[in-house]
Each structure stands twice: as C-alpha cells, then as structure tokens.
C-alpha cells in the first residue's frame, strides 16, 4: 500500500494542553450558545414575533460558533489569509461538484431576500401544506397539519408556486348553504347575516356577502362569503358553518337532503311496486292524454299485455 502524501505534521505540535483547550472551547461555545438561547427566549418571547426571535437565536448561535472556530485556528497554526484563499478554491471545487447543493444555497439566499414565506406562516408548496417550521440556507422545513416533518430543498421551494395563506392581513372563505325550495330565501339570508355579525372575527369590513347563488337540483343554494383575519380564518371557518346550520334549523329552515320526485307512467307500475300480501288502495287511474300528432298517437301500453313481466 502506498504511503499517504497528506501532511499531518501540524498535528505534531498539538499536545494534551492543546486538546484540552480545544475541548474547553467547543464545550464553552456550545454552553454559551445554549445560555444565550435560553436568555433570549426568556426575555424576548413576549416582546417580539416568534419568527424574529428564531432568526435572532440562529444569528447568535452561528456567531458564537464562528467565534469559537476562529479561536481554534491558531492552535492548528492556520493563517487566516491562507485559509481564505484555500477556502475560495475549495468552494469553487465543491460548487462545481455539487451543483444541486449550490442551487439550494443560492435559492436559499434569494428566498431570504425575497421573503415570500416566514417562520410560522401557513403555506402550501407543491403537494406539501402546513406551517413553516424553519428556513435554513439549504432547505425549508414544513410541519404539516398532521404534525409530520417535511424538508423541502430550497431550489424546489424557489421554483415552485408558493401559496402563503397568511401573507395578507385578511382572507376570504366561502360556504354553500342549501335550503329547501319552499323556504324563504330572504329570511334565510337575514339569519345567516345575523350569525356572521355575532362572530368577533368575521370582519365587519370587507362586508360578508350572502346571496342566492344557484337553483340546484335539491335545494336553493345560498353562497356565503366571509372575510376573516388571516391568522384566524380557519377557526372562523370551522366555527361558523355549524352555527349557521343550527340557527337555520332553529328558525325552521332545514338543510334538505337530495330528493327526487318520481312519476309513474300508469297504475300497473304502482301495483307492481306493492309487496306481496299488501292490499292496494284503489287509486283511480288518470286518464292518459296524448297529443294529436301522428307520431305520438299510438295507444299507451296495455298494462295486462304479455311481456310485461320483465319490467
């Protein structure tokens, strides 16, 4: 086996004292970073936003880390100037070798500059939806609504369509409320408006919009559009729908089930619909009328005719 060409001569100058110093520096840096994190959390949690606090903690932690690393360099007899040149070359080599990593890094920088999302935002990227748990330089961490950790590379985030549900101060959501055809739609709209007005987070302005939207198969559909603070919209959405339903029912307006009116063509069909042993109430058969057109002037089918068994 060929002897390694790597030069480890700088390690010869390291003795136990140096090792102890390195250990103390690493442990000390970790301890100081932890201490500062706890202090910042204690003193600033109720004073600044969570996302700003997380960013501040991250900056402080990285600063302590860099400071500790710089303090370690003299032990290894590393000159800072040489290190910068070597680091420059090394970053070019690494960049070419790992383009996707570089892509993620650059995307991360652009995301930080553009700031389409912040920590805590309620977002959807591709098929991932949830709250932004962390924004790193290479990736974005999303906690889905099921509490699942999802790491999305920043390049994917940057090139995907991002939906941020809480970027604006307020957002609108809507329901479709079906009422029976024989109910008073005007009264139903009044009731729905009253329920919305009572809710603190259903915004006064922009005004909610409630109107008859569709004469559907089974119901008259009322469209309800409500604005809510972006941070509260889900709570309002889940809260109001049931309240609207309950209030409508309290006022005698039932939400209808799907229903269909079936007309039988003749008396036979009615009789055949009865079970065996059930006595049929004699119903006078309506006189069928047919238009006096040539094509339709054929006689109606004979109820007692052969061949009806298959119907």
């Amino acid at each position: 086996m060929a002897e390694s060409d790597l030069d480890f001569s700088f390690l010869e100058g390291i003795d136990w004292w140096h090792l102890l110093t390195i250990l103390v520096l690493i442990v000390g840096a970790a301890f100081i970073a932890k201490l500062l994190t706890i202090y910042l959390k204690k003193s600033l949690t109720d004073k600044i936003k969570r996302s700003q606090l997380d960013l501040l903690i991250k900056v402080v932690n990285y600063s302590v880390l860099v400071l500790a690393a710089l303090m370690l360099l003299p032990i290894f007899e590393v000159e800072l100037g040489g290190l910068l040149v070597a680091g420059g070359f090394l970053s070019i080599v690494i960049g070419i070798a790992s383009q996707s990593v570089l892509g993620n890094l650059i995307s991360g920088v652009f995301l930080i500059v553009e700031r389409p999302i912040s920590i805590g935002d309620n977002i959807s990227i591709g098929d991932v939806a949830g709250d932004v748990a962390d924004l790193n330089i290479f990736s974005t961490i999303v906690k889905t609504y099921d509490g699942v950790y999802v790491r999305i590379p920043n390049e994917t985030v940057f090139t995907s369509a991002i939906t941020n549900y809480v970027a604006h101060a307020a957002r609108r959501f809507s329901y479709v409320v079906g009422i029976p055809y024989d109910a008073d739609a005007g009264r139903a709209i009044e009731i729905i408006r009253a329920v919305i007005d009572e809710h603190p987070f259903a915004l006064k302005n922009p005004e909610p919009s409630v109107y008859v939207d569709e004469l559907a198969d089974n119901s008259v559909n009322i469209k309800v559009k409500i604005w809510a603070p972006a941070s509260e919209w889900w709570g309002v959405y889940t809260d109001l729908l049931w309240k609207i339903k309950a209030e409508l029912e309290r006022n005698g307006i039932e939400i209808p089930f799907p229903q269909r009116v079936v007309w039988f063509q003749n008396e036979l069909a009615l009789r055949k619909g009865l079970r065996v042993g059930e006595a049929a109430t004699p119903v006078p058969a309506p006189e069928p009328t047919f238009p006096e057109t040539g094509a339709d002037s054929a006689a109606p089918p004979d109820p007692d005719a052969e061949g009806d068994e298959g119907r």
């Binding site: 307020a170 915004l203 603070p229």
Partner: protein, 235 residues
C-alpha cells in the same frame, strides 16, 4: 369597582360578580359576567388587586394593535381645529400585585368584540371595530361599558376634509379613569384629504382621574414602540 383593593375582595352588581375568596392559605378568584365564568387559583399569602380599564384589544384574544372607531361622517373646514366626543369600548383588566410585581389575571368586557380591516387586504391592518355616536359635548357614559374619547381634529390642509373613522394605535394608548368616567384623549392631524396621523395625549380628561395600567407598553422593546398611527388608507 375600579381602583386598588386589598385581598380578599368582593364586588357584585347586576349580572356580574368578582370575588377573591381566601381559603386555607390561598385565594380563589371567581368572576361571573352574563353567564360566562372564570376561576383562577392564586398561591399567595396576600397582596392587592388592581381593577382598571385596559386597551380594548384583548378579547376574545389579542390579534391586532389598532382600534378603529367609526362615526357618522363629518366635514372639517380648511385650517380648523376642533374637538369631537366619541366613545370607545371598555375592557376591564384585573391585576394582582405582590412583592413589587404585577400579573394580569383576567380581562373581561360587557361589549361584544368585533374586528374589521382598515385598508386593503394586502396592505391593510386588522383593527378592533367600534361604532360610536358623535357628541358635541362630553356625554354621560357607564364607565364599566363605554369610555369617552375626546378627539381633537386639526385640518392642516387647504381643503374641506370629510371623515368618518379614526384608527388609534394600541401602543401608547393612555386611558384614565375614576368611578364615574373612563377617558382617553387623542389627536388626529389631517395632512391631506386622504391621510391623517393619530396619536394620544397623556393627560386625564378630568381632574383627579387615575392613569390605567397599560398592557401594550410592556410588550415591546424600549425605544422601538410606535405610538402614532398613520391613516393612509382612507378617512
């Protein structure tokens, strides 16, 4: 009811009761208002309770930093300065004081909270909404329900300006109270027909009124708090 009281303390009126009951070395706080009820256990050997109006932006939970008071449209002539009297909703804070420290125990109100959006949905501000009549002189108000907002409007423009709302920043909101009146004084400086700046006066409306403990002052870093609101999305 407002003021500083020694524990135990009890207050009762129609449909409302507030009670600090001492039992076996601890205090049980109970508050009932129109059927809603709150209880809290205090592990304290004694102390004092402070009941005073607080910034009306806490119920059902704190989601914004602005109070929007809407009133009937009024117009003010160019260069004029005038004071109108409006009302604002009162929220009442119960604080416990012990060993030099204060803790908010409860916030309640007789008024149903409602929120609104000032401005557009993308650049606007969520604000607590309150509809007020406009008075030419200070009206008689129930200090447990409504406070008096003395709003001094200065029109610095050369045009008549029509306005129907004022937006006030919660930080820097100065509320004063006594047993008969809860008040705050605000300024509205109209800098154009569409833009105004609002701020507060830190002084009682009447002699002898006490300054209420502020909730929103302690929630910001010293030196970076905003105490003015720029109404740049319509008056």
């Amino acid at each position: 009811m407002y003021g500083t009281h020694d524990l135990p303390f009890h207050y009762e009126t129609d449909g409302f009761s507030l009670d600090f009951e001492h039992e076996s070395g601890r205090y049980l706080y109970r508050r009932e208002l129109n059927g809603s009820r709150k209880e809290h256990l205090l592990l304290s050997s004694g102390g004092r309770v402070i009941v005073n109006p607080v910034e009306p932006l806490n119920l059902p939970k704190s989601i914004c930093h602005a109070l929007l008071v809407e009133f009937d449209p009024l117009s003010i002539e160019p260069g004029a300065r005038s004071t109108v009297y409006l009302t604002f909703p009162v929220e009442i804070g119960v604080f416990v004081a012990g060993r030099g420290n204060l803790e908010v125990l409860d916030i309640f109100s007789w008024n149903a909270p409602k929120y609104t959006l000032y401005g557009a949905s993308d650049g606007g501000t969520i604000a607590r909404y309150w509809k007020s009549p406009t008075y030419a002189a200070p009206p008689d108000l129930d200090p447990l329900r409504e406070g008096l907002l003395a709003l001094t409007i200065s029109n610095t423009t050369r045009d008549w300006v029509e306005l129907s709302r004022v937006v006030l920043e919660s930080i820097g909101m100065k509320i004063y109270y006594d047993d008969a009146l809860v008040s705050m004084q605000a300024r509205m400086r109209l800098v154009s027909t569409m833009v105004a700046e609002t701020s507060f006066r830190d002084r009682p409306f009447e002699e002898g009124q006490k300054k209420a403990l502020e909730l929103y002052l302690g929630r910001v870093l010293a030196g970076v708090e905003r105490s003015r609101f720029l109404m740049d999305q319509g008056l």
